[in-house]
């Protein structure tokens, strides 16, 4: 029983991070109508920048993480401005390939600086909490708390602010927003900044648990993508549900079938794509 609980808790911890990455996918999808295959690289950037600021520039951990998130948001804005906006109006396939190109560049730029794997200390707190025979590292508690806070804040922002409402409306009908005279160029760039920041937060939070390196972005991005598709692309609660399902399935599944971790996540996604392409919860933000 306690072993199962342990797997479940580990799965929820990692699943929360996948959920954050998935939320990033959904945000850019809703506002720009594109799937940003470079989302995983924002996660990697967040982790790597936090490592650089904390270990090499001597910033306190929390400040380093915060600054890393801010810098990654800037990178997200640059990506939208330099690679996505000039190609507006191209077909979906073209846009997908462009974001793949962006992910090449971001990954290689970091790889050119360092190919080492890095670790961050956990955020301060008790080393581990034991409950019902299962041990939860304090970093997992931080992930759960901060992850929930980020998703909640984003949900409130989308629901109760004018800007959030505009973002949601853009997901419904981009042309109508333009007809109302809302400058729609600032919205995609805002969405990219937000989703890059959320991705970076996931990256900074996961680095103390696992390691971070220039290659990690692709893997994490794919998991977040799986989560977004599983829950329903563009759907906020769906992204969270998808992240948790993938996290738990992967942790429990790889306990039984080690070596097939990737296969589990993607088989789930293929099953969903083939039977219910709109995802578990379907719909929009």
């Amino acid at each position: 029983m306690s072993v199962l609980l342990q797997y479940l808790l580990t799965g929820i911890g990692i699943g929360t991070l996948y959920a954050l990455i998935a939320v990033g996918f959904s945000l850019t999808y809703n506002t720009s109508g594109i799937i940003n295959f470079a989302q995983g690289e924002f996660v990697m950037l967040g982790g790597m920048l936090a490592v650089w600021l904390h270990q090499f520039q001597g910033l306190p951990l929390a400040a380093a993480m915060g600054l890393a998130i801010g810098l990654t948001a800037l990178a997200g804005m640059a990506v939208e401005r330099l690679a996505i906006r000039p190609a507006r109006g191209s077909g979906m396939t073209t846009l997908i390939i462009i974001t793949i190109g962006v992910s090449f560049i971001l990954k290689a730029l970091v790889g050119a600086v360092t190919k080492d794997e890095f670790h961050l200390p956990a955020l301060p707190g008790p080393t581990a909490v034991t409950a019902l025979g299962a041990t939860i590292p304090s970093q997992t508690l931080w992930i759960l708390a901060l992850g929930a806070a980020i998703v909640l804040a984003l949900g409130l922002f989308l629901k109760y602010t004018l800007l959030g409402a505009t973002l949601r409306a853009m997901a419904e009908d981009r042309q109508a927003i333009r007809n109302l005279g809302v400058e729609s160029q600032t919205l995609p760039i805002l969405a990219f900044a937000l989703s890059a920041a959320i991705g970076a937060a996931a990256g900074a939070l996961i680095t103390p648990l696992t390691q971070m390196s220039w290659l990690k972005g692709t893997e994490l991005g794919l998991k977040g993508f799986c989560a977004a598709v599983l829950g329903g692309m563009g759907n906020l609660p769906g992204a969270v549900l998808g992240g948790l399902v993938i996290g738990i399935a992967e942790t429990c599944g790889s306990a039984v079938l080690s070596g097939y971790k990737e296969v589990i996540a993607f088989t789930l996604v293929l099953v969903i794509l083939y039977t219910r392409p709109q995802g578990l919860l379907g719909g929009r933000l």
């Binding site: 077909g91 073209t94 990737e262 088989t267």
Partner: protein, 319 residues
């Protein structure tokens, strides 16, 4: 015809020029030829039919592994192995394609990506001890034809050149056939195709399977032409490789067959050019900048020259 002539000259010139010390460049051209076969196969799907595939490295890898497992583990004649390298990916494509071809745009991208990741993970996981895990398969035998063993730079290059020309001619006649017209209609006006009572999904599935079959053939050629007689999952089936194949098609020109070949040439030779350039420009490590330049060239091509280097030319228009 003119384009086929360019292709033949491109492939045969290195046989004359790259002798002795330059033989490394001959084997690089052999690899270019193998990549070009994949680029041609992907071009049918991505360029002409407008269907993205992020799993062509998986078909390539399945082809390579089918040939290697057949000829090493089961001791089959290598030519039979090469046959398997067409059949296995085609069979897999038929199975996974049935549900996949119904998907569009990013769902299609996601599903094909998923297939690519799963195949790569399975090859790495060494199921039933058949694939050798991350280490791959060693000591692959050579092909043999009329008493000649294909085990040196020159014979390998001739084999790949012959295969490339056959595949090129096959693709060209397919494009200019009635089915080729249907392929392009699937891309540009799918509703018109449906309205004519043609089964859109069946057409997409046929192309998907054919494309996988040709990519598998290229994988089989790689297996028997790799100078070290050795394959591993990272070299033949990684997701990165799928992306490289897409880069080839997009840079070269997604609506022209020669474009795919030129794209394969550009992508295969880029690292060499970068290495040469690093003698003039001090780059810390040229391989690090390879991917940056891939990315920049890819994005710039899509934004400023979406048709790629080689402009579209139907086989008929070319005469």
């Amino acid at each position: 015809m003119k384009r086929l002539f360019i292709l033949v000259v491109l492939m045969l010139t290195p046989l004359v020029l790259c002798r002795g010390e330059l033989s490394y460049y001959l084997s690089l051209m052999t690899m270019t030829g193998i990549s070009a076969v994949v680029a041609l196969s992907l071009n049918l799907l991505l360029g002409y039919t407008g269907q993205i595939s992020l799993c062509h490295a998986a078909f390539f890898g399945l082809g390579a592994y089918a040939a290697a497992i057949g000829s090493v583990n089961f001791g089959l004649n290598p030519w039979l192995g090469l046959g398997l390298s067409c059949l296995l990916p085609a069979g897999v494509a038929l199975l996974v394609g049935l549900p996949t071809v119904r998907l569009k745009e990013h769902y299609l991208a996601m599903a094909t990506l998923g297939i690519g990741v799963i195949v790569y993970a399975i090859l790495r996981a060494n199921p039933f001890g058949a694939t050798g895990g991350p280490g791959g398969i060693f000591a692959i035998p050579s092909l043999e034809i009329m008493g000649v063993t294909i085990d040196n730079d020159i014979s390998r290059h001739v084999l790949v050149t012959a295969a490339l020309i056959v595949v090129y001619v096959l693709c060209e006649s397919l494009i200019s056939s009635r089915f080729g017209a249907l392929m392009q209609a699937v891309h540009t006006s799918p509703r018109a195709v449906s309205s004519l009572g043609i089964d859109l999904e069946a057409a997409k599935l046929k192309i998907f399977v054919l494309s996988a079959c040709l990519a598998g053939l290229a994988g089989g050629l790689y297996c028997f032409c790799s100078p070290l007689a050795y394959i591993n999952p990272d070299d033949v089936a990684s997701v990165m490789l799928s992306v490289k194949f897409i880069v080839m098609v997009v840079i070269g020109g997604s609506m022209s067959l020669l474009g795919g070949v030129i794209g394969a040439l550009a992508v295969t030779w880029l690292p060499e050019l970068l290495r040469a350039a690093s003698a003039w420009v001090p780059l810390a490590n040229p391989t690090d900048f390879e991917a940056v330049i891939y990315g920049v060239v890819l994005i710039a091509t899509l934004i400023y020259a979406p048709q790629g280097l080689i402009r579209p030319g139907g086989a008929r228009a070319q005469g």
